[in-house]
């Protein structure tokens, strides 16, 4: 159990920069989920923490101790791999005990720890089996067990659920969260699945092209995304983005789609005409006969709600998620209002969030 502190982590593979200075402070017992699109450097960051990769610059501190120059074995971390990396020629027991055996723990202590972890994970009956005689979910548990018995300072997970089917993934997700809370071990969890990220993390690190675009709680990331990348990445269907310009001395937005609408929460800085992006989540759009007319091209009924896709008068793509059967698959047009209270305002040039002030 320990804190983790990353400062100024940079990484290049040859000439290719992959990480551009990541700073992160993780509190004791906290679960941090690193989420982002494929290739944004999530695994690289995790491997730097594990010591499997050497950072080009920056320092890694675990429990206050600088471990940047230490070998993986000396960092007291445990990692769960995407393909589990269970040794095929060892039984479940031997797989879980291997790290302890190498560290020279007494046999009785090894038996006790493996037994406890197996009990905790419900794999007590499988200890004599080989990995190939296990189902995907059972292998996943064994991989978890191998990490738990080590009683490390830090758990590292690299997409451990992505080889499971959808149902099992939901179940294991909940189980990992419960376990982590119960054991209270500081954890880093890498995923590209936003649902996994939202449900698992105390806080999220949303990564984008080697930067940490936002580090915040799941609700804050959803409610106040730091830039338009994060806004578009989290949430499904994705947030709508509309081109607009500041008007009325910063108090309103002139939409490319037509109307000029006043901000609900006060004026934005900048001269009139400053180009901005308005974001609004599909679920915040409301039907309104007096509103903008959406030219529909696809209506997806989901039972409790319906998602309508179409284009606005300005030609911008737009989606609305409406309760019940507010729109039916045969409809060609839908009039909607964009409540200003639900707007997210971003600077068009930098993509950063623009708050009133």
């Amino acid at each position: 159990m320990a804190t983790l502190e990353l400062s100024g982590i940079e990484k290049s593979f040859g000439q290719t920069p992959v990480l551009h200075g990541i700073d992160l402070r993780v509190a004791d017992g906290e679960m941090i989920v690193i989420v982002g699109a494929s290739g944004c450097g999530k695994s690289t960051l995790l491997r730097i923490v594990a010591g499997l990769e050497t950072a080009t610059a920056g320092t890694v501190r675990i429990g206050g101790r600088d471990v940047t120059a230490l070998e993986p074995a000396d960092r007291d971390v445990a990692m769960v791999f995407q393909n589990y990396a269970l040794y095929p020629h060892m039984s479940v027991f031997q797989n879980m005990a291997y790290g302890l055996k190498i560290r020279g723990l007494p046999t009785a202590e090894i038996r006790r720890r493996v037994g406890e972890a197996a009990e905790l994970l419900g794999i007590g009956a499988l200890l004599e089996r080989r990995p190939r005689q296990l189902s995907g979910g059972q292998r996943q548990r064994v991989a978890m067990g191998r990490a738990i018995v080590r009683e490390p300072k830090l758990f590292l997970f690299d997409e451990p659920l992505s080889n499971l089917d959808a149902k099992l993934r939901v179940q294991m997700r909940a189980e990992i969260r419960r376990l982590q809370k119960r054991l209270g071990v500081t954890s880093l969890f890498v995923t590209h699945d936003q649902v996994e990220a939202m449900t698992l993390g105390d806080r999220l690190v949303v990564m984008h092209q080697g930067h940490a675009a936002q580090v915040a709680t799941p609700m804050e990331v959803w409610a106040r995304p730091a830039d338009n990348y994060v806004a578009g990445f989290i949430g499904s269907p994705a947030m709508n983005f509309l081109e607009a310009a500041l008007a009325e001395g910063g108090a309103a937005a002139a939409l490319k789609a037509g109307p000029t609408i006043r901000f609900a929460d006060g004026p934005r800085p900048g001269a009139d005409g400053r180009r901005i992006i308005l974001g609004i989540r599909p679920e915040h759009v409301v039907p309104d006969p007096a509103g903008l007319v959406l030219d529909l091209d696809l209506v997806e009924p989901l039972g409790s709600e319906t998602v309508a896709h179409g284009t606005l008068p300005g030609g911008e793509a737009f989606a609305a998620k409406l309760p019940g059967a507010a729109v039916s698959p045969g409809d060609r047009a839908l009039a909607v209002a964009l409540p200003p209270a639900a707007w997210h305002v971003f600077d068009a040039a930098s993509g950063r969030r623009l708050d009133p002030g």
Partner: protein, 302 residues
Amino acid sequence: MSTTELPRIAALPAAEEAATPAPRPRRMGDVVTHGVLILGVLLFALPLWIVIMGSTHDAASIGRGEVPLLPGAHAIENYAGAWAGGTSATIRVPVAVMMLNSVVMATAIAVGKIAISLISAYAVVFFRFPGRMLAFWAIFITLMLPVEVRIFPTFKVVSDLGMMDSYAGLIVPLIASATATLLFRQFFMTIPDEFVEAAKIDGAGPMRFFWDVALPLSRTNMAALFVILFVYGWNQYLWPLLVTTSGNVETIVVGIVKMIGSEANTEWNIVMATTVLALLPPVAVVLLMQRWFVKGLTDTEK
């Protein structure tokens, strides 16, 4: 759905086939196929049969030019004679000694080749060191040099080192294998990176990883290679011929060739008994390792 019904249903087509005669072309095809197969078996088995039968007759009957197809009465004396006394053409070195020499040589070559290849392949695959690719290519290129090309330099070195006519002289020049090294390299490259990384995090150093992971995973490959390399070592002829000058380390293959070298008074009954004896160790190795051998060729434990 009762299970007793299943076999009946499954058996139905077969029964039908038996009742109605198969169409003519297919019949013909069957006859031809079986004919070819039987011919093949005869071609392989007949010489073996003749040798085994020949080894049970006395010298005179084979000397008269008979080809015996039935067992004779002299089996015990032929085998005992060969085992203990050899023939005059091999200066009466007992076949037992030659067999022992061959077993020692073939085993040492097979074990040595596997051990050295494993270690070199491990180094080439899992370590980054200067000259790694150079080492790899050097090994690779020796594949292209047949034994005959390097036999004289090798002979000179062995004789300068005073290893003529010794086990060392027989074995050492044949103990490295580029082929086996490449095979193990290919195998090691299929071991997932995550195994190495998990071991690193667990605190296993390179030696532990070798013993605990790389070696056990290679077991089936090692068994398959052992069979192939044992037979390879057993069948060596040219090199043992050059390096043995007395009967002390004479191998069985060289011995047999010497036995039949002198046309005039070949003791055919003893030669045949010796040949049968020479077959036994490779057959034994194949049978003993069969389970592993087949496993090694078909699956790797992953």
